[in-house]
Symmetry: C2
């Protein structure tokens, strides 16, 4: 199951991965179906997850995510200085371009939308924070992939340009641009993205968004990461 990791740990984390929406609790049977693990195996793994606060067992037996995830998630999130830096940037980008603005990071073999400022226009590219999307589709996915994997065929071009564009890849009516936010020592921290209705977010608008996003990304790098 594991290649150079520890199989039992990966089983335990696969259990946590079963939880997908808030307000959710899951019975043992559902976890067994989703993970393919035996119930006795799950129960034993859950003893450890509960003891560290990652899961909680309800009185009716259903499992729920536990408070440790909130605490560690808060630690992680604070590293990006959410309240003081990135969110205002997303607001400015959204207002300046009229489209939605987001910040994505890699999450295993997917990307996750950490923060979002949706456009105020009635017709807009709307997504919720926390959503996970594939790496092989969308400007943010290509950019993240390019900065993670030097052997990716698009890496050289994307790094040379310092942006990625996608037209209708995930949704036929959507266009998006993504620029990198770099930290200390040019470490890739995440993707700053503007996305909108393809007919409105045309080439001229995209070029303007790229320019604005690159400027905001440069300022973020200086302000947050030195």
């Amino acid at each position: 199951m594991s290649d150079k990791g520890v199989a039992a740990v990966e089983r335990a984390l696969a259990i946590l991965d079963c939880f997908e929406s808030d307000q959710e609790s899951l019975p043992l049977k559902t976890i067994a179906q989703k993970t393919g693990l035996y119930k006795s195996t799950i129960l034993r793994l859950c003893v450890s997850l509960e003891s560290y606060g990652y899961l909680r067992r309800r009185e009716d037996g259903d499992f729920q995510l536990g408070p440790t995830l909130w605490r560690l998630g808060a630690l992680y999130r604070n590293r990006f200085d959410v309240a003081t830096h990135i969110r205002p940037v997303l607001k400015r980008l959204s207002e300046a371009t009229g489209e939605s603005a987001s910040f994505y990071v890699r999450d295993g073999d997917a990307r996750i939308c950490l923060m979002r400022h949706n456009s105020s226009q009635a017709i807009r590219h709307h997504l919720e924070e926390g959503v996970r999307l594939p790496l092989n589709l969308g400007a943010a996915g290509h950019l993240i992939q390019a900065y993670s994997d030097a052997s990716d065929p698009k890496t050289q071009e994307i790094k040379a340009n310092s942006y990625a564009i996608s037209l209708g890849e995930r949704d036929p009516n959507t266009a998006s641009i993504a620029v990198p936010v770099l930290g200390r020592g040019d470490a890739f921290m995440g993707a700053l993205v503007v996305s909108g209705l393809r007919t409105r977010f045309d080439e001229e608008a995209r070029q303007k968004a790229i320019t604005l996003a690159l400027e905001e990304a440069r300022r973020l790098s200086q302000d947050i990461y030195g």
Copy 2:
């Protein structure tokens, strides 16, 4: 190491527990010191934690918490309907009493402050969200313990009263009161707490705070948990 759980899983979670503040990265040596694990053991466990996004390895080798924790932490947090329910309650309690108001849940053998509205007064009981505190000190700790462990000597009294009080237990100048928020089927969900300067938060003020907090808790139970 483990009693009925899985030792490898608990080792992995012990690694995650090493991270205590935001902006933090930890070198291998520090994790080995904090956990008492061998470096080779840590490295193997970290392969699994990285592959699921719980950790990230920086180019200089240091470890950081990864985006999965944010995602799962957001799922957990949303279960409490933060934005729509509990936070306004804390604001009202704080404004009505003039003291700080918080919401605590159990986190293993500690309690964690999930949400907080600090008093606007210059002299106030100030804490940050996310802080972990012991169960054996403070009104919230006693209340949580009473609702978790029927054999606790204080359980009967606290449940009969529907509140706990502490005077100078954790900090000699602080007084606090805690009332339970119950969910479906009277399941204990967390502690609603008001805390402040002991000389100002006197018996009359505490009694008033208890009354207000019980009313808010009852309303929360109806609104959120049916």
